[in-house]
């Protein structure tokens, strides 16, 4: 059914996608408020949900770096991995300074990519 919408209603389809995203996002916050005085955030169920969430997010981030879709496809895998390692190293070396870590990682990727185009 949804696939049919994407073909029959190309203009409305992305709005249905965004609306679905909004519902799938707020539902957790709303449930969190409803449950906040009744549930034990230290319990086993929450431990498991937390682990599944962290694993999913790590998988997503790794996928964005290793197998990106879009403009990053034009960059070399080794450049993206090198940039990630530099970002992590600078972040840890500067006592977890996000700005410097992110800035270093992005700069390394841009410089390596431009360097390859210019000198290789």
């Amino acid at each position: 059914m949804p696939e049919a919408w994407s073909e029959a209603w190309p203009g409305i389809w992305p709005w249905i996608v965004v609306l679905t995203g909004a519902v799938a996002t707020y539902v957790w916050r709303g449930m969190g408020v409803a449950l906040s005085d009744r549930i034990n955030p230290e319990g086993q169920l929450f431990q498991w949900i937390g682990a599944v969430t962290y694993a999913f997010l790590a998988g997503l981030i790794a996928r964005l770096i290793v197998l990106p879709v879009g403009p990053l496809e034009a960059t070399a895998l080794t450049d993206r991995l090198a940039a990630s390692v530099v970002a992590l190293a600078i972040f840890l070396a500067t006592r977890r300074n996000l700005l410097l870590g992110v800035g270093a990682g992005v700069s390394v990727l841009v410089l390596l990519t431009v360097g390859r185009v210019t000198w290789l």
């Binding site: 949804p2 696939e3 992305p14 709005w15 996608v17 965004v18 609306l19 679905t20 995203g21 909004a22 799938a24 996002t25 707020y26 539902v27 957790w28 916050r29 709303g30 969190g32 408020v33 906040s36 005085d37 955030p41 086993q44 929450f46 431990q47 498991w48 949900i49 937390g50 682990a51 599944v52 969430t53 962290y54 694993a55 999913f56 997010l57 790590a58 998988g59 997503l60 981030i61 790794a62 996928r63 964005l64 197998l67 879709v69 879009g70 403009p71 990053l72 993206r80 940039a83 990630s84 970002a87 992590l88 840890l92 977890r96 996000l98 700005l99 990682g105 992005v106 990727l109 841009v110």
Partner: protein
């Protein structure tokens, strides 16, 4: 962070606004420039980008949504991926709400301001609110998080426009901001054993399962690697003779 309480709830809201307009706005604003660019690359319109940031505010879920939309995934796959990506908001909300409660505050206000719970504002509120009188906590959080939300809306628009105006290599950098930012945000969780296990296993498994099945690979990654991390963590606890809560 020498100052503790504000003079009034109103001053607390302004204090929250000021606190967000520093590093948090720079980092998250820059990340949403990347999101705006990603929207354009994925074939979203500017208005769809704004709508996503306004109503589905939480960057990892927004990225998952746009990326899956771009590869033509089904609505069920997109909804499930966004729901699983954002499931962390449930325990986050459960942990934060008891701090924000103040007797006499109408219940709908908690439901309204819960929309603005996301990693950055949550972290700050968890640190700052215990030092504030209870009537100043919700205003502080609201001032902080709604300012950040406004900044990210503007950044989504700028990123979308920049994606077509700036050289390719800048676009590249903006799109790369997102994964790098979250990698570093989650690096702070490496000290927490079960999270470190889940992050490590998920990062290794994710790309492989994505190759096996682009629609469901990441969901399978979460369930398999997350459950494995949970079981390993339990086994390590049992070996150390620690009882379960």
């Amino acid at each position: 962070m020498a100052e503790s309480a504000y003079r009034s709830p109103r001053a607390a809201a302004l204090g929250g606004m000021r606190a967000s307009l520093g590093m948090p706005a720079v980092i998250l604003g820059a990340s949403y420039l990347g999101f705006g660019s990603l929207c354009r690359e994925a074939g979203f319109s500017l208005w769809l980008g704004f709508a996503s940031t306004a109503t589905g505010w939480a960057l990892p879920g927004q990225i998952a949504l746009v990326e899956l939309y771009a590869v033509g995934a089904s609505l069920l796959a997109i909804g499930s991926a966004v729901a699983l990506t954002n499931a962390r908001l449930l325990p986050m909300t459960v942990a934060l709400m008891p701090l924000l409660r103040h007797p006499g505050t109408p219940r709908w206000r908690y439901y309204f301001f819960a929309h603005f719970i996301a990693i950055t504002g949550w972290t700050i509120a968890m640190q700052r609110c215990p030092d504030l009188p209870t009537d100043q906590r919700l205003p502080y959080f609201a001032g902080f998080a709604m300012t950040l939300w406004s900044v990210t809306l503007a950044a989504t628009g700028f990123g979308f426009v920049l994606a077509s105006l700036v050289p390719d290599y800048i676009t590249l950098g903006l799109v790369f901001l997102n994964p790098i930012y979250f990698m570093l945000v989650f690096a702070a969780d490496f000290r927490h054993r079960i999270r470190a296990l889940a992050l490590g296993l998920g990062a290794v498994t994710g790309p492989f399962l994505h190759l096996v099945d682009p629609d469901w690979g990441l969901l399978a990654t979460g369930l398999l690697a997350g459950s494995a991390a949970f079981l390993v963590d339990r086994a390590l606890d049992a070996r150390a003779g620690r009882p379960h809560a």
